[in-house]
Symmetry: C2
Subunit: 361 residues, 2 copies
């Protein structure tokens, strides 16, 4: 059941390979947390796997569940900048394009890349309207505190995205003070690109305010999976080559440290995964994943219903990639040990574990 540009995808019924009988609000148990012999906690969620031809390959839960994209939208949010020629005009480097698509750790090399973009477009860091938070990367946050420096907007994990939005605004000669308004040319171009790549052309995607104050978008889970499949394949909604999509995917693959950072799962996945694996988290339990297979792109969209913590999202993402063959069994096990681990208590005793309980295929 392909859903391409000709279909109004939001109305499509998914050809699910998994039962949805036990779903509630579209969500189904994905990950168990066990203590001794007992299941102590359960994380609900949904997963959609779609190829770049629009075929639903596998799913768990209801792939029609509406999700808010949050930072899984970032790779697509760079596309209008690349479409516009601004990257050439401002001589933006490939790692600078990667940081625009990232939720970075605020490490020194991330901050340097964002400051470099701002310098190239002739703006200061005060132009960033993302707000400030301490770097995600703990040692970088600690270093700031030791120097008694407050975190600024460049440390915000979204500062690359915002610098990219500002670069496009400058290139278009549009105002930079209002670049976050949904009617600003930067935002209308982003919305149009997202509609095209998700099979939702002509739909006015519902928008809401993201953690960084930029507009973000809601859509059924399977449409986000299609977006990721097309990013991996480098094709647009008409299956034609999409140069900008290829460029952002290449930048992410070649500079995975810019997309997340040191000791981050997205970065580790893009270094270790097969088939040009792309990995991008989003707030509230979101994960976008993509890889190439048989000349097509395969996209995965994952939502953990509760949206808190990392254990369920990481566990489910690794298990999904392992089941789909995008991650070798031993690599999945190593990443699982590093990023999920076992449940250990304050004395280091192993008292339980976190276990995915779904089968995609």
């Amino acid at each position: 059941m392909p859903y391409n540009g000709a279909l109004s995808g939001a109305d499509l019924v998914p050809a699910s390979t998994a039962t949805t009988a036990s779903t509630s609000r579209g969500f189904t148990p994905l990950v168990e947390v066990r203590r001794g012999a007992i299941v102590e906690s359960v994380h609900f969620g949904a997963i959609a796997v779609v190829d770049s031809r629009g075929q639903l390959i596998a799913s768990v839960g209801d792939t029609g569940t509406p999700v808010v994209l949050r930072s899984t939208a970032k790779p697509a949010q760079v596309l209008p900048l690349l479409d516009s020629g601004a990257a050439e005009r401002f001589r933006l480097a490939e790692d600078e394009i990667a940081v625009m698509a990232g939720s970075h750790g605020g490490e020194p090399f991330h901050v340097a890349a964002v400051l470099s973009i701002l310098k190239k477009i002739g703006l200061g860091k005060n132009a960033l309207q993302c707000g400030a938070h301490p770097p995600y990367h703990r040692p970088s946050a600690d270093a700031l505190r030791r120097r008694r420096r407050k975190p600024s907007a460049v440390h915000n994990n979204c500062s690359g995205k915002h610098a990219g939005m500002l670069a496009l605004a400058v290139h278009l000669g549009a105002p930079t003070a209002t670049y976050l308004e949904t009617t600003h040319p930067v935002q209308t171009r982003i919305a149009k690109r997202l509609e095209g790549l998700t099979g939702l052309e002509g739909r006015a995607l519902p928008t809401m305010v993201d953690g960084c104050s930029a507009p973000t978008f809601a859509m059924p889970l399977r449409h986000l999976a299609l977006l990721y499949a097309r990013l991996a394949a480098g094709v647009d909604g008409d299956a034609a080559p999409d140069r900008s999509a290829r460029r952002v995917a290449k930048a992410m693959r070649r500079h995975p440290e810019m997309v997340a950072g040191t000791d981050r799962l997205c970065t580790a996945l893009m270094r270790i995964g097969r088939a040009g694996l792309l990995a991008k988290i989003g707030a509230e339990g979101m994960y976008g994943l993509a890889f190439e297979r048989d000349g097509a792109g395969m996209g995965v969209a994952l939502k953990i219903a509760d949206g808190e913590g990392q254990r369920a999202r990481f566990s489910a993402a690794l298990e999904t990639l392992r089941q789909l063959g995008a991650l070798r069994r031993k690599d999945a096990a190593a990443l699982r040990a590093r990023f999920v681990g076992e449940i250990r208590n304050h004395r280091g005793l192993r008292v339980g574990d976190v276990a995915p309980i779904f089968a995609l295929l």
Copy 2:
């Protein structure tokens, strides 16, 4: 449908007032997290409300769902100490009994109370086998770090419970090195007390290792609610006065700062709530609550399925107490604003909210 000591409670079918048709693994959507006009995340869970006569008063989800008690067991874990006469022998103060039932913040007054208990029983802090973690109370953790001191076992939120277990071991002349083994007289007495108060007499409750290395217990959610109802009423499994239960409930009510600490919901609830409100969190999304009504005790047991974060647990607990009349509407709103709040982004813009969606009555 009462379940008292004469019934083997684990087999009882709950007389639920709420539909369980939409439950999955016994859990049902309890709390929505909204961004703009969209439900972005959903927390699943279950709630049981039982009175001290064993009547199921209200529920959401399946009250037969097995849960691990974690720190909601603490008030009951103090009972064998109080039964034994050890409190008199060691001249334990009421606030010291309260800290034994608490998950404290590691604030200076908590640490002083635990050290005082240890001194009274002739042991040093090395006798505590709970392991170390930084104080929950952030300013206390910061103060330790500034003084370049490592957190020790006394700062562990469970150190009061462990000091109480050690006090009973010393009183009984039992070994103090093995007080955490399930066959140790301290632990067998605790298990027996829990079985009696939860309507599970003669059952060997499944045990698992808690975060602090002590045994903890699993049982259907409604039996934990019955335990809390009996604590509030001060009655045992035969509806006879239970002096130790009265004593621990009184200690918690008179020293709520010992049960949690500064800026903690349990403490605030016990200060503000009506009808002798008792409130005790447990790890992995647990909450035990109790109050008095019409000469009986009312117990609430709450489990958030995902077990992570505070927003769903706090939101559901406040809404439950408001619906049951144990919290005035304006007090519930004030605590909600303080402990749950709205969803705000990095620039402080309000972008969403956390909303309970269940009806108990």
